[in-house]
Amino acid sequence: MSPSISDQCVKIEFLSLPENVAFARAAVAVFASRLDFTVDEIDEIKVATSEAVSNSVVHGYRGTSGEVRLILDVQDGALVITVEDDGCGIKDVAWATQAAHTTEPEERMGLGLVFIHEYMNDVVVRSKPGRGTSVRMLKAPVQAGRPPESGPSRPTPVQH
């Protein structure tokens, strides 16, 4: 489903278990440190990843379990995260994207996709009912061009 990938691409596969959501977040945070993101931006990326992976677990494979794929890449200096599942799919993506729209009103707030759109620069949701869902989210560092920060102990290191 990914149109093109770079040499830096990392592909991660796991079962749709709730404990894997934390792993996905942490893996994305580590990967994102290749780019010049601020701590706040990394926090936003973690939230967006958490929402997309949680959706695959909760909605995509509701009541069952299946494979979730998390594809991390850097394209033109931006982080590109794709979360894919082979679950039930979304009937109406435009409807699902709106705040408070959820198929699980008892349990969920219908804010996952709202957070994803808020925290990422560019989001494409592709879904086929009965086939699965892919959420592609892009984020470019705001301070692009500045060298990444290092520990506080070293004033002006040459970074490699």
Partner: protein
């Protein structure tokens, strides 16, 4: 995530630490439901979040669910100590409009 609960008068205080996500929402709900089921004196809930380093909409949803339960029984839900990234998620989800956030447990208890 760590979940520890204690009772002060009519109030259950739940201390959370770590990451409040889909996986953590289950244990959180269970601890609260069990405490309220066991102890009829309980009416209010204070969630101490100063050691929560991450929260997403599943965490927010778990708090909102408890808020709805308590409102039905005439109880209150208060949140204490939100770190910045958690506060941002809390505010953006509109929770600050319905749930009071306090700086400390003492302030929250005093407001009852």
């Amino acid at each position: 995530m760590g979940v520890v609960a204690k009772r002060i008068g009519q109030t259950l205080i739940v201390y959370l630490d770590g990451e409040f996500d889909l996986h953590a929402a289950g244990p959180f709900k269970t601890v609260v439901a069990d405490a309220f089921a066991r102890d009829e004196r309980l009416r209010h809930l204070i969630i101490k979040m100063s050691d929560v380093t991450f929260m997403d909409s599943s965490g927010v949803g778990a708090i909102l669910g408890r808020y709805r339960d308590l409102r039905e029984r005439g109880g209150r839900l208060m949140v204490v100590g939100l770190q910045m990234p958690v506060r941002k998620v809390f505010d953006f989800s509109g929770m600050s409009r319905v749930i009071s956030v306090f700086e400390s447990e003492g302030h929250a208890l005093a407001s009852l």
